[in-house]
């Protein structure tokens, strides 16, 4: 393990922290950047659970919603401080993820995936049914931390949390536990044959993912100041699940690049908002077919091919 | 000499990095019975499935009736008169015997199908007693009979049968082989049989020896040196 080998991993927190400078730009641009960070968190969670641990879980909007709506409900019914609301939101979401795993652990891959997909459909319906407290489809306003701390400070706080969460995930996947996660993703039978209690590690992965996704959701609702069942519906889940795939599921920077595409590109196309679904659908199909390894690796290959035409391939080969 | 019916040139088939067939050259003349012999894992099934179009070769070309068929789909090859009876899973288990045979005669019209089915029943009277029975409930020997019956019903130019004798008693195998030879003498059909056992040599005109994905020899069946076969199985 040389420094050079670890460089991308060590550099990631700084790359992620740099956009904090947008605080000097301000305005709508700054707001969009903060919004992007809330999805970067979800993207890394999906990366950890779906792609690094191989668990077919589609319920990210459900865990996110639980974090967010815990804050909403606590604020409307109690006097707990916002910090405690966020903490409880994360914990309740972790609990949901744990319970989900425990109840579906008998089902195999695709079926468990479908159960989580059902969860992503169910939670918005539940929120709509509980509309007197949650605001349902038309949404609810809360006095978020952005108002209490000032939007610039809260923007910085969101970036700080994102950096911490992503750094934690990047650290985790390189520990022994993270390597066991990867082994379970690649070959669970082998993992069990070598004496690893895969059940325990999967439970851990779900819990961590639920905790971080719920934390992200709680930060989200404090950032936007309002939330409705439409914000966290099943399409949100599929988008989040799609983030690492779009960027590259094999690269540490994949979820970052993926969220940038998913959040920023629609901003550029806001004039044709009504056609956005069509663009989303097309991008799902095109990426699955033409960029199965994501944008980073796809573009990398393209560049390599271009360069190999200019530079003799021999010199390029040495670097790998 | 009868005209050339099928020709494979430099056929290479790979599974990932493993080459199951290496530059195989192979030819069959019209009306011939050709046996492909070789030990388990020599690539016989791979070869037949490639000819039938189930597998796509990495290199090389296939010609059938003077047409390049390398890129054709299985159903197109079948339409041209080339059919394979695989060694396993060669029936539609939840369909009755009769429907299996009808599917065998897929490209025939209704009337000629009846005629062909009657011909199959003459060859295998046992099948006629069981036309309504589900194919999956037949005994092993009957299932093989039905599979070959489907091949006969197909009314093709060239019929390939993978491991005809697998799991059958020697006497049954002898019967099936002589039925096939009679069929050839009667209709002029070309037969390509892959065999792990060497019993097929009794009816074959020509023999290909396949080992580790390569053709080791081609000989007329009558002049075949038994030592060659031995070397194929036991190594040189």
């Amino acid at each position: 393990m040389t420094i050079r080998h670890n460089l991308p991993r060590l550099l990631l927190p700084f790359v992620l922290a740099l956009p904090a400078l947008f605080v000097f730009v301000g305005g709508y641009t700054q707001w969009v950047i903060g919004y992007l960070y809330l999805f970067i968190i979800q993207g890394y969670v999906a990366w950890l659970l779906f792609y690094k641990t191989g668990q077919s879980f589609y319920g990210y909007s459900a865990t996110m919603a639980l974090g967010a709506y815990t804050c909403v409900v606590l604020q409307r019914l109690t006097n707990v401080s916002p910090a405690l609301q966020i903490l409880l939101g994360a914990l309740i979401s972790a609990l949901l993820a744990m319970l989900f795993f425990l109840s579906t652990s008998r089902a195999k891959g695709f079926y468990a995936g479908m159960a989580s997909f059902l969860l992503a459909i169910l939670i918005p319906k539940l929120i709509e049914a509980l509309y007197p407290i949650t605001g349902g489809r038309s949404g609810v306003q809360i006095t978020g931390l952005d108002l209490l701390l000032g939007s610039d400070n809260y923007f910085l706080l969101v970036i700080f949390f994102t950096v911490v969460i992503v750094a934690f995930i990047a650290w985790l996947i390189n520990t022994r536990v993270g390597k066991i996660f990867t082994l379970i993703a690649e070959n669970e039978d082998l993992a069990q044959a070598t004496g690893i209690n895969s059940f325990k590690y999967k439970l851990l992965a779900y819990t961590v993912a639920g905790l971080l996704s719920g934390l992200g959701g709680a930060l989200y609702v404090n950032y936007t100041g309002s939330i409705s069942s439409v914000d966290i519906n099943v399409f949100t889940s599929v988008s989040i699940f799609f983030i690492p795939l779009l960027g590259s599921k094999r690269s540490l920077y994949g979820p970052l690049v993926g969220s940038m595409f998913l959040v920023l590109i629609p901003e550029l196309f806001s004039s044709i908002e009504r056609y956005l679904d069509i663009l989303y659908g097309l991008s799902y199909i095109l990426v699955m077919i033409f960029l199965p390894d994501g944008i980073i690796i796809g573009v990398g290959r393209l560049l390599a091919r271009l360069f190999s035409k200019i530079v003799p391939p021999k010199t390029l080969g040495n670097s790998s | 000499m009868p005209p050339l019916l099928m020709e494979a040139e430099n056929l290479t088939v790979t599974y990932g990095s493993y080459a199951a067939l290496k530059k195989v050259n192979f030819s069959v003349f019209e009306g011939e019975i050709v046996a492909i012999v070789g030990p388990n894992g020599a690539g016989k099934t791979t070869f037949l499935e490639t000819v039938a179009g189930l597998l796509k070769p990495k290199e090389g070309s296939l010609k059938f009736r003077d047409r390049n068929i390398t890129k054709l789909e299985p159903f197109q090859r079948r339409k041209m008169g080339l059919m394979l009876i695989p060694q396993e899973g060669n029936l539609f288990p939840s369909m009755p015997v009769k429907e299996n045979l009808q599917l065998g005669a897929f490209f025939e019209n209704k009337r000629s199908t009846e005629e062909i089915l009657n011909r199959v029943y003459r060859i295998f009277p046992k099948l006629q007693d069981r036309t309504r029975q589900l194919a999956g409930t037949l005994s092993g020997g009957e299932q093989r009979m039905l599979a070959i019956g489907m091949g006969i019903a197909a009314n093709v130019k060239a019929l390939m049968i993978d491991e005809l004798s697998l799991g059958l008693a020697p006497k049954v195998v002898g019967n099936l082989l002589s039925i096939l030879r009679d069929l050839r003498d009667e209709t002029g059909i070309t037969l390509i049989l892959s065999e792990q056992s060497i019993k097929a040599l009794d009816v074959a005109d020509r023999v290909y020896g396949l080992e580790a994905g390569e053709i080791r020899f081609t000989e007329d069946a009558q002049q075949l040196d038994r030592d060659l076969i031995k070397s194929l199985y036991l190594g040189a």
Binding site: T104, L118, V238, R274, D277, I285 | M95, F106
Partner: protein
Amino acid sequence: MVLQGLITGIIIGGILSLPVMGVALIYGVTGILNYAIATIGTFGAFTTWLLLPYGLLPAILAGLLTSFVIGFGIQQFLLNPLIKKKGNDLTLFFIITFGIATIVAGLTKNFFPRPTISIELPKLGTLFIADVAVDINKVIAIAIAFSILLVMRFLEKTTKTGKSWIATSQNLKMAKLVGINVEFVYSLVSGIGCILGFIGAFFWGVLYNLTVNTGWDLCFLGYIIAIVGGIGNVWGGMISALIMGVVISFAGYWLGGMWQSVALYVILFAILIVAPKGILGSERSV
């Protein structure tokens, strides 16, 4: 009230069973779970609605044909090449067909002048079952939903095309070898599946209001109930659709509209946890 609830439940379940059978049929033959069937069917139903001024029958035929062509085309030009390249990967095809559903729903939203439609059929009067009055159009809807299964079985028994799709579902390799153009069969069956989705969406539009969102609901339910009923098992799908229809109906009475779908999804979730392979098991090994 119980009878009324039961009748409503059977009507809803009968309509639901159409996209479910579509998903099951396509899965049985191609090995792919197609998510987009009901959204494609909804697009077809909107087409029918748009063309209603030109007569009911031409409009229905146009909707039917549109759904078939979309289903056929997607299978032929997108899914078949993918199956060839990547095999049957449930997750891959879940995402791809979800993408297709998103595109088709987006087109429905943008292409048609109104977001909510209701298809007016000539009133045929009412029928009395015990004391409960039932619109004859509803009876027709149910009769058609149930007879679809019989029509399908009839086609399978008597036509060469029907036989070739059964052969393909039983033994793909042998189907190819006896000369069946399996890719064409796949596309054909996908087209037929989308026709089933269309009939479902059409009757939904006749009995209730059809929107892009109800199209999505039919889509979720069609897909999930097909899995819950035993992935690819047409009978299992139909039975579960009926049960779910009755659940929706009674949940509506007892819990009210908002809790109706919560109850439904909770039950589906519970079934998926208890019997992940579905109520009747699968006709095809996954």
